[in-house]
Every structure is written in C-alpha cells, then in structure tokens.
Symmetry: C2
DNA sequence: GTCTATATACAGATAGAC
DNA sequence: GTCTATCTGTATATAGAC
C-alpha cells in the first residue's frame, strides 16, 4: 500500500529496539518517544494509545512474514536450509520484529500471541512439502524455535550459544539428513 | 540447608505463577502479595526488595537444576530421551522456575540471564558424553530450547504445538537416531 | 511476623498551544 | 504534525502500629 510516514516507522523501530534490548517493562511510551527523537505527545499523534503502538508492531511483523514465506519457497539452497539459517539471524528486520512481538505475547498481549502462533503455522505449511513426515517437520520447527529462543534471550548483546559458520552448516546437514523428503 | 519458612515459599510460588501466566510487567509486589495471601508489607518482610524477590526465584531454579542433573545422568530410558521428554513438561517445578526466570532475564535482570545460560551449560555437560559429536549435541539442545520456547509462549493456558504422546516418542526416536553416541 | 498508611516516582493518556 | 503541561492510576519502598 502507500508507504507509511517516516515518523511512524522511526517510532516502531525504537519501540522494537527497546523491547528486544531491555524487555517489555522498559518499553514505555516515554522511553520509546525519547529513543525515536519525538515527544510523548508527538508519538501519541501517530499511535493513539499503547495498544495501537503494539498493534503497529504486530502489523509490521505480518508484512515481513509475507515476504519471508516467498523467500523460503524459492530459496536456491532449499527451503529447510534457508529457513534454519535465517532463524539464527539476529539483525534481520523480520527476526527483530518476531522477537519483539514475542515479548509482547509473553506480556499478555493476545493479538501478539495469536500472530506468533499464526506465523509458526505459515512456516510449517511452507516447509511441509519439503519434509518427509510430521515428525521430521516437528524437528525442523523445534530447531528453528530453539535458535529464536537463544537469540531472544540475549537481546542481541552477548553472543549466545547459537551455532555459526561451519557449526551451522553441520547442523543444517544433520537436520536435512534426518528430515529431507 | 535448613528448609525455608513456608510463607517465603508461598510468595515465590505466587511470583512464579504470575510471571508465567501474565508476564513480567504484571508480576508486581502488590499482585504477588495478593496471590500469596499476604500484604505487601508482609511480603517485604521476607524479601526486602523486588530485587531480593527475583534473587529468591533464581536461587530456587539453581536448587532444582542440581536435582535434575542427577536425574538426567541416571535416567533408565537414557539421558537424551529423558532430557527431551522433561523439556516438554509444563507443570514440573523445574520447568516453571526456568520459564519464570527466563522472563526475568528478558526483562533485563542480569543475574537471571547468567543463570539461564549457566543452566544450559550444565545440561550440555551432562549430555555431551551421550552424543556423538558437537553438532549432535547442538541439535539436542536446540530441540530442547524449542520445546521450552513453545511452553513459555503460551504460559500454560493454550495447548501449544509441542508434540505429545506418540508424536513425542517419534521425535525422540528421530533425534536419538541422528545424535546417539 | 504481619499489618496499614504514606512517600516518591513514573506509567498511560488528555488538552490545548504553536 | 509536534510540542508542553497536567490529570490519574499504580509501582516500589519506608515507617511504624499490632
């Protein structure tokens, strides 16, 4: 659609960053406005309430997932390898939106919970044709969840226990060997 | 050591439950005191500050992990199978303490982050002799993380996408086939 | 050991100037 | 479209009675 005003996007960026780095409790309107370089009143012009701000982030996640589903199905290295590799990315816009939305979900935001669950279902649907059975699909999804979980724990600061480089290649090979259709 | 007074434990139970069910933001001294059936002043007699309350929960997690490490190494069905099965348990005291502590970690509590990371390392150490190489160990740990992540997302209310019964048996068999020493 | 009452800070939100 | 000022609720924490 018509691209949203830049101020709105800066506010969403700031809100997302605080959620990831400092957690839900720190992601106040005040802190978000400060980080985005606007006043609280300015922020509330674009998002009429805290709930509206949260809804804005959830919407952004939805848009990014649309693009990702397309990328998964057309990835040259194959959907499973692409999916696992991208699950371990920490500064991809999609991953940031997902981790931030997970924080909202854990804070009791029902729409955020529903969206995170729905995203997971869309990924499952995209990968199902490329795994040999339901158990194999479970395995791929759980490894991906594990990679996200570890990224989410550190918030981007400390290097977590997520495999990188050759270790990630080996992991992908092992999972593909056990799951590929 | 000498078992802690019962009031302290009730307060910790209440704090843990609110963290899991409603998130960090809802886990206030007021809400915790109410759920534990004491006044805020009464709570603050046992835990002198919010930080002390959080430290109490983190300590509890440490004690429960000590017991779990012992159970993992002596499990009749084997360490990996036991470990994965127990990672999907939602109302085990250990799993509740871990999920609650993860919430604190995501809220920026450094001690909680350090403890969660340390717990993961202790599990890795216990499982390393029973997996064929580093990649296999990564796989087992990530599947376990994925199971926790899904439990943590729902907070115990909605039945999540975690495999149960025969599906869990099949998953364990698949992981063991790919990882067993 | 547990309570009530209170101090202080900060959250989300509104009103209205510019 | 963005600001300041302000209202109202609620958080953590302290003081002191019982």
């Amino acid at each position: 659609m018509s691209r949203p005003p830049h101020a709105r996007e800066s506010v969403l960026d700031a809100f997302e960053a605080i959620l990831i780095d400092d957690g839900e409790r720190s992601a106040t309107l005040d802190a978000t406005a400060r980080a985005a370089g606007v006043s609280k009143g300015g922020l509330l012009y674009h998002f009429g309430s805290k709930e509206a701000l949260e809804a804005g982030l959830i919407e952004r996640l939805g848009r990014l997932v649309d693009v990702d589903i397309e990328a998964i199905t057309t990835a040259p290295e194959g959907p499973v390898a692409y999916f696992l590799r991208s699950s371990a990315m920490q500064n991809d816009p999609l991953d940031r939106a997902l981790i931030a939305t997970s924080r909202l979900a854990q804070g009791g935001n029902a729409a955020a919970s529903a969206t995170v669950r729905e995203v997971r279902l869309r990924w499952e649907d995209a990968l199902r044709p490329h795994t040999k059975d339901a158990t194999a699909l479970d395995l791929v999804m759980l490894v991906s969840d594990g990679l996200y979980f570890n990224n989410a724990l550190e918030g981007g600061s400390v290097p977590g226990p997520v495999p990188e480089g050759a270790a990630m290649d080996a992991l992908i090979a092992l999972v593909e060997g056990a799951t590929k259709r």
